[in-house]
Symmetry: C2
């Protein structure tokens, strides 16, 4: 089946999914969990084939670890499926209601986007999480996983499609793409695909954004900052800086640049260096930094670099405002934190830093759908429209306006025979 | 000043506007209204120059009427400004709050998009409405009005910039573009412009959408339908059909295709024709339609045509589902209405028609920001992401996630030392 046909089927299915009732969707999620458990042996056997091939191809150890999909991982995704089944159905929720006039009521209600195309990395659990979020939110989905996980992804997609369709979901709502050519083809299908969520390297996401007219939700760079203010608990600041950089440096929400107020730099920098040294973190600093601790010089390019490794740029600033300006200039609008005991300074930072996630006295590593309590996440967005930060169910929804009248014409209001009332109704749509 | 410089100034100003307090913004709106009233003579004199030039260039009468900006129009926009000043400030509103753990609170709060570029038609009142919506929502704005209104737009933009900056808005938040070259240049400024809202012809909007990487909010086609169900008050249906088509046919929310259930076609079509004939509306029908009333034959192309005139396609369908399929296939996702006295049929139509605005027993012409009670509107969107249907203040906002901690690190939670609570807080952000 061509990707165009797969996408058209998903689009046709998505039009029906908007009206699938809550219980059918929840039952489908529970049945998928049962089927994954029942087919555990087949799934782990398929995963073994992927793992063997990957080992033969000398895939790096961390990637092998992400690729592995064993009983524990299956139990994890099944817990996720059952917890998603227990969540309120976001589709059809009344978001606003207005009485335009007697017998003329306007309701703004949540509805699915249509078809979401998601390109994700090697973790097979991502396939289950993303497809189940789409199912619950009433969206068709096109999935493209890492090629290392081809066999695991195929059996998972087969089980999810088959079981959900037996439970009453429309045929073809889930489509699996298998090649890079499929992805390229999808980028041109703007009549069938409503949103693309690419997860992966900076260059890859940028490539997708530049090569499609379909809206893209995601982030390219993740240049996150921690700023240590002049009034701050320096032990706390060092703990947060070390955690933000070193707890898992290969991810988008890890810190890349540390900004330090000059008043406390002499005290703070040796403290931070001690913690960072324990992880063997390589430091690059501005001139003032290098007067206090020994490290390589940082240049203009370093402020724009996402190391994704045990490597950190450090800059000493004279004022809070300079830290904010640095972040708004060099940051990627992802996640930035201030460590301060001065509430007005924190308020200023939180309101003026133009990023999706802005933290006060907490590590940048908290920027994540699971940690935010959104359940699974589809991705993290640095877009300024639609959805920002970690994106769960809500980012897969839009709304429609339902107007329920009793024969009203615009002419009656244009002529002045009738007047609009525009009274908030505060009630749910009766349909 | 080059458009690039204008846009960069607006971007820099927008970073500050996010933190401008409510009273400063409301005072600016009231002062703008006072200044427009105080400068009434200069404004109408500038408008007279535009009108004289347009008359010499033989601009069509309806366009001349839209271009005119007299005392009444000034009074109208001033009413709008004062009413906007009275509305709640949407910026900073807490949209959700979660206690991740004791002393670790997450707030999702509304914030401005940044800089919005709006290209609009000849009405000078649109300039005042759009810039005031941007001011209230804390966004910088780049405005390009119709060239016919160049002198009027210039004096209005000057007054709004000057007075608002005197009231405390950051310099350069409003920029006026004057030429088509300015618009072309803006399309490439993705680092300074966050959203483009083009208003105008189908071709123009399509051109903008195809020539920028900046998100575009708007609609190209407006192919709206009225479907008359088998159980319907036929007098009401005829009234709604005539109003949807003829009350103002040159606009996007006017009906272009009438769909009629075959069971009532013999009774209904002559009734509808009578009303439509009064406006001299030209009719094109499918074969079944032409067996009942005399009209020209409609072809495949007609179902895809936005006439924007006294011209209408009519199709008889055998089932509600066929009407829904026709609308989802040929419609533009703008506004579609069902006339029916059968609630389950209405519910099915409202949930399965995939359009921004779906109406039951009301004219398609109600699809409008003013009629919806949104105050002024920036435009009407058929996007599936961000904002859909008439877009007022809310569509100019996005949100940011604020996390307020007390020194927490992700490591403590990853190691299992601490557990997330994820309790809904139900309170506003304290900052």
């Amino acid at each position: 089946m061509s990707i165009q046909h797969t996408a058209e089927k998903a689009k046709a299915a998505s039009k029906l999914m908007a009206a699938v009732d809550t219980e059918t969707k929840n039952e489908a999620l529970r049945k998928i969990a049962e089927a994954l458990e029942a087919n555990k042996d087949e799934i782990t056997a398929a995963n073994k084939e992927d793992l063997d091939r990957a080992e033969n191809e000398n895939l790096a150890r961390p990637l092998l670890k992400r690729l592995k999909f064993d009983s524990d991982k299956i139990a994890g995704v099944c817990r996720g499926l059952r917890s998603l089944a227990g969540l309120e159905d976001p589709v059809g929720k009344t978001l606003a209601s207005t009485e335009l006039d007697i017998g003329l009521e306007l309701y703004k209600t949540a509805c699915p986007l249509g078809v979401v195309g998601v390109i994700f990395e090697s973790r097979p659990d991502a396939l289950v999480q993303i497809s189940s979020l789409c199912l619950k939110s009433g969206n068709g989905v096109l999935l493209k996983g890492g090629s290392e996980a081809a066999k695991t992804n195929r059996i998972l997609a087969d089980i999810i499609s088959r079981v959900s369709e037996q439970s009453g979901l429309p045929a073809g709502w889930l489509g699996l793409l298998e090649t890079r050519e499929d992805v390229s083809a999808m980028l041109g299908l703007e009549n069938s695909v409503d949103l693309i969520v690419p997860r992966g390297s900076n260059e890859f996401v940028q490539f997708i954004m530049n090569n499609t007219n379909i809206p893209v939700l995601g982030h390219a760079d993740g240049i996150c900052h921690v700023y240590v203010d002049r009034q701050a608990d320096l032990e706390m600041a060092a703990r947060i800086a070390v955690d933000s950089k070193c707890q898992y440096p290969a991810v988008c929400n890890a810190m890349e640049t540390l900004l330090v107020h000059e008043d406390i730099a002499t005290q703070f920098l040796p403290l931070a260096k001690k913690g960072l040294d324990e992880y063997g973190c390589k430091l690059k600093g501005c001139e003032k930094t290098r007067e206090i601790i020994s490290c390589e010089p940082a240049n203009e390019q370093d402020w724009q670099t996402e190391y994704l490794d045990y490597e950190l740029s450090i800059r000493v600033v004279s004022r809070l405002e300079d830290a904010i300006d640095h972040i708004n200039k060099y940051g990627s609008g992802h996640t930035d934190a201030i460590v301060s005991s001065d509430e007005p300074a924190a308020r200023k930072f939180l309101s003026l830093v133009d990023s999706a996630d802005v933290f006060w006295n907490a590590s940048t590593r908290f920027s994540d759908g699971f940690r935010y309590g959104l359940g699974a996440e589809v991705g993290i967005s640095t877009n300024k429209i639609h959805a920002r930060g970690p994106v769960g169910l809500e980012g897969l929804l839009i709304y429609k306006w339902l107007l329920i009248g009793s024969g009203q014409t615009a002419g009656e209001y244009a002529s002045g025979d009738k007047q609009f009332k525009h009274t908030p109704l505060g009630k749910n749509c009766p349909l």
